[in-house]
């Protein structure tokens, strides 16, 4: 009882709680520094997000996750407000295009809490889901994250006194961002076609949209090393070379600029316009804003 009175008197009861998924990160941590932690299969990197929401890349390391957390955990904690951080899981997930998913009212919320009621036969035990429906067709983009991966990450964070305020899949978030940025007009009067390419900390997702239809999606976690060779990325895109219709452009959204990507894309898709949404700290900005 006393804590509620205290919360009312210091006005914290009128602010969302730090791990309230309904509230934006900006509202939850206004004026407080936090971090964005990228957790890959064998990589751990983090960026500092200051009180004004500006992102600053701090450090990235490869190795065993447990050892990486032990090494970077104290540094992350010291740079955050009470150890609160947001986590982008870049491994052990699957992004796919599905047809005829239930679109009942509140289904996007229900897929988190009771995915079986939405996915029916597609439901797999031990997964956590998120879905984005195409409003013009019966297709949906479905994210299936390994639940054990989430719990293991939560346990590692807790072990190092870090508190996850939000755990998401960075690739999926960037894909939604790219789709929202280019599909802003309601209705089917101006159908949009493009090849979406999303990169997040070495994970890649490519989605082919043809006149608002999501035709094909290819997603690979931990496909390439950030700052390293991007040939695997180019190989993943190569099948789209023939399938991408004439005069169709590319929409690129990467969490950080990828060296040499623009040249490779120009080489692979000559003469195609490239709408590059990439900017430094893009994922951190999106996560902070929403």
């Amino acid at each position: 009882m006393l804590q509620y009175v205290k919360a009312v008197l210091n006005f914290s009861a009128f602010r969302p709680e730090a791990d309230d998924p309904q509230a934006s990160w900006k509202n939850r941590f206004a004026g407080r520094p936090t971090t964005l932690v990228h957790v890959g299969r064998n990589t751990l990197s983090y960026s500092l997000i200051d009180a004004k929401g500006w992102d600053k890349f701090a450090e990235s390391k490869r190795g065993e996750l447990k050892e990486l957390f032990a090494e970077l955990g104290p540094a992350i904690k010291s740079d955050t407000a009470d150890g609160w951080c947001m986590v982008s899981l870049d491994s052990r997930y699957v992004i796919s295009v599905e047809n005829n998913l239930s679109r009942k009212k509140g289904s996007e919320e229900a897929i988190r809490k009771d995915p079986r009621s939405v996915l029916h036969a597609r439901f797999e035990r031990g997964k956590r889901y998120a879905a984005t429906h195409n409003p013009e067709t019966n297709t949906s983009i479905l994210l299936a994250m390994d639940e054990e991966n989430v719990k293991k990450t939560e346990a590692l964070l807790k072990e190092h006194k870090l508190k996850p305020g939000r755990i998401c899949c960075g690739t999926y978030v960037l894909l939604r961002h790219a789709l929202a940025a280019t599909n802003a007009k309601k209705g089917a009067e101006a159908p949009f076609s493009a090849l979406y390419l999303v990169c997040c900390n070495g994970s890649v997702c490519a989605l082919l949209q043809e006149k608002d239809n999501w035709m094909e999606l290819r997603s690979r976690p931990d496909l390439f090393e950030a700052g390293g060779d991007i040939t695997p990325l180019v190989d993943l895109l190569r099948p789209f070379e023939e399938r991408l219709g004439p005069d169709r452009g590319l929409v690129v959204a990467c969490d950080e600029p990828v060296a040499g990507l623009a040249e490779k894309l120009t080489e692979l898709f000559p003469g195609r316009p490239i709408n590059d949404l990439t900017e430094p700290g893009l994922l951190a900005k999106i996560l902070y804003r929403n």
Binding site: E17, D19, P21, V150, I167, L287
Partner: protein
């Protein structure tokens, strides 16, 4: 087509006791609370200040009352002194005024002294019970009783009649005491008692 991506899909394990923030309108509660505290502090400070000022004023008034009381006491004492002096002055005045009719008598007694006689002591007393009478006490340094006779003669000329006289000689001085009664020359030598009797009898 419109895709809205204003919310992030959160995959973390939800805490079950997450409470939504209270509505903004309820901010009035702590605001009023702090306002009431601030108001109480202001009012309390003003009251405290007023109490302090009132206490200072009360002490000042008490000090003023004490000083005035002491001033009143001093004034009363001065007044009492003045009244005593006035009383003494009035007594003196009364004495002077009362003794004024006797001055011719005293002058006559003094002038009656011969060359070889002197007055050692002269008392003239008027008794409060019998104010019509004068008690004469006269001590003379003289060789004979002739001086006393002369002096008594002078006294009689001043229309005083002596009675119950006593005469003694102490260490060479003649001590004479007598009661004297003034006779009004216009009442044909009647005593007051005789005049009173005449007034009663038709």
């Amino acid at each position: 087509m419109q895709i809205i991506a204003d919310q992030i899909d959160d995959l973390k394990t939800d805490r079950k006791d997450v409470m939504p923030p209270l509505p903004m309108v309820f901010r009035l509660v702590p605001i009023l609370f702090y306002g009431a505290i601030a108001f109480s502090l202001v009012v309390g400070s003003v009251a405290f200040w007023n109490v302090r000022v009132a206490t200072q004023q009360r002490d000042a008034i008490r000090q003023k009352i004490e000083s005035l009381n002491s001033e009143i006491a001093q004034t009363k004492a001065a007044r009492a002194t003045l009244e005593n002096k006035i009383r003494e002055a009035a007594d003196l005045e009364n004495w002077v005024l009362a003794s004024m009719p006797l001055q011719p008598l005293v002058v006559a007694i003094v002038r009656s002294m011969a060359a070889n006689s002197s007055i050692v002591e002269l008392n003239l007393e008027r008794d409060a019970e019998t104010p019509s009478q004068l008690r004469l006490g006269l001590r003379l340094n003289t060789d004979s009783d002739k001086q006393l006779e002369d002096t008594l003669e002078v006294i009689r000329d001043m229309h005083y009649r002596e009675f119950s006289p006593t005469q003694t000689r102490v260490r060479g001085d003649l001590d004479y005491k007598a009661s004297m009664l003034w006779q009004n020359p216009y009442t044909k030598g009647q005593l007051p008692e005789e005049r009173a009797q005449q007034a009663v009898e038709p």
